[in-house]
């Protein structure tokens, strides 16, 4: 029983290690098979990490949402996130723009747009409002049809 517990602890430890391999500038992300091996990312322990990631359901997390108004008066939005999983994540997003009264601004640009994110990598989505009347937004996501 003790042995199983130790093995489980070791696996969790390796996985956690694998998630935090920023020994370089954090602005640069190296994929598992690109950078040097770490305890959590070498060829033997990588599958363990991948299985653990799948079991706990790691996916996309949003880290920061920023907005600004362009000199021409259009609201511009940037969503930054991270793909925590060990596989490429593909999804669609749709931006809905709202005016000062909270009403949806009808536009042809509110369509589903595809995104693809590398495993364990950051990503950014940028969108600009179709009209200077936009003061707020909503972003919806869905899995890609296949």
């Amino acid at each position: 029983m003790k042995t199983y517990g130790m093995i489980a602890l070791l696996l969790v430890g390796l996985t956690v290690f694998g998630c935090a391999q920023h020994t370089h500038d954090p602005r640069v992300t190296l994929a598992d098979t690109v950078g040097s091996d770490t305890p959590g990312s070498n060829i033997i322990t990588r599958p363990v990490g991948q299985i653990f990631s799948a079991v706990i359901g790691e996916g996309i997390v949003i880290q920061n949402v920023s907005q600004r108004v362009t000199p021409a008066g259009f609201l511009e939005v940037q969503v930054q996130g991270l793909n925590q999983s060990h596989s490429i994540r593909r999804f669609d997003y749709q931006v809905v723009w709202l005016d000062a009264g909270g009403m949806v601004i009808p536009t042809k640009t509110s369509v589903w747009q595809p995104v693809s994110v590398q495993p364990k990598s950051p990503f950014a989505i940028r969108a600009i409002s179709p009209s200077p009347a936009a003061v707020d937004f909503r972003i919806n996501t869905r899995t890609q049809p296949n």
């Binding site: 362009t70 000199p71 021409a72 259009f74 511009e76 536009t107 042809k108 640009t109 369509v111 589903w112 747009q113 595809p114 940028r126 969108a127 600009i128 409002s129 179709p130 009209s131 200077p132 869905r142 049809p145 296949n146």
Partner: protein, 204 residues
């Protein structure tokens, strides 16, 4: 004899059961599979990327604060499909107009005047038929406003054999915005949509 009728009835019922039922596409949330040819989702995606790029570039922002007059020039369909390029441009023109930065003109364009009534009313004015109209309701000379900017472009298709059974089709949407006075290109954007599928799937 009765057996034949029963068999015929069963076959007819089976054939009717095999028919694919017609359904309306849920355009707001279409989960349908991609197709090798260009469909409305590809045009939506390309147009959205183009409009966002154009607005972000600031090329439509007039220095004196007014609005540009824009026309759609020639959009070449260099694909193997019969595409009406208005499928792309109608969305872009609509968004340019809605942005409040520019107005589109129907007087001139790559395919001629978008609204043929503009020319027709002038032909009436200059013909004997003008006698039938009250003169002050006919358009006077020198009233049309010339466009300052033009959007032109191309849709290109490339078919590449990926492997024995798979074909890769690349569609390039290319647009550019030109200042008609100076001839300078103020904005340019290319959007790629790629598809890979069965070689037997027709992409034209």
């Amino acid at each position: 004899m009765k057996t034949y009728w029963i068999a015929a009835g069963l076959i007819a019922a089976l054939l009717a059961g095999c028919q694919q039922p017609t359904v309306n596409i849920d355009i707001a949330n279409d989960m349908g599979k991609p197709v090798m040819a260009l469909d409305y989702r590809d045009f939506d995606q390309a147009a959205t990327a183009m409009v966002e790029s154009l607005i972000r570039s600031g090329a439509l922002r007039k220095p004196d604060g007014g609005r540009y007059v824009v026309t759609t020039g020639r959009i070449i369909n260099d694909t193997m499909q019969r595409i009406d390029t208005d499928q792309l441009m109608a969305k872009i023109e609509q968004e340019i107009a809605n942005s409040g930065q520019a107005v589109m003109t129907s007087a001139v364009g790559g395919k001629g005047a978008t609204d043929t009534m503009i020319d027709q009313m002038r032909q009436i004015r200059d013909s004997a038929a003008s006698q039938e109209f009250r003169s002050e309701t006919l358009p006077a000379e020198g009233q049309l406003i010339a466009p300052e900017l033009s959007i032109s472009g191309k849709i290109i298709q490339r078919n590449i054999r990926y492997d024995r059974n798979t074909e890769q089709v690349e569609y390039y949407f290319q647009l550019q915005l030109t200042d008609l006075t100076s001839g300078l290109r103020l904005w340019q954007q290319e959007q790629l949509i790629g598809k890979r599928g069965d070689r037997k799937a027709v992409s034209w």
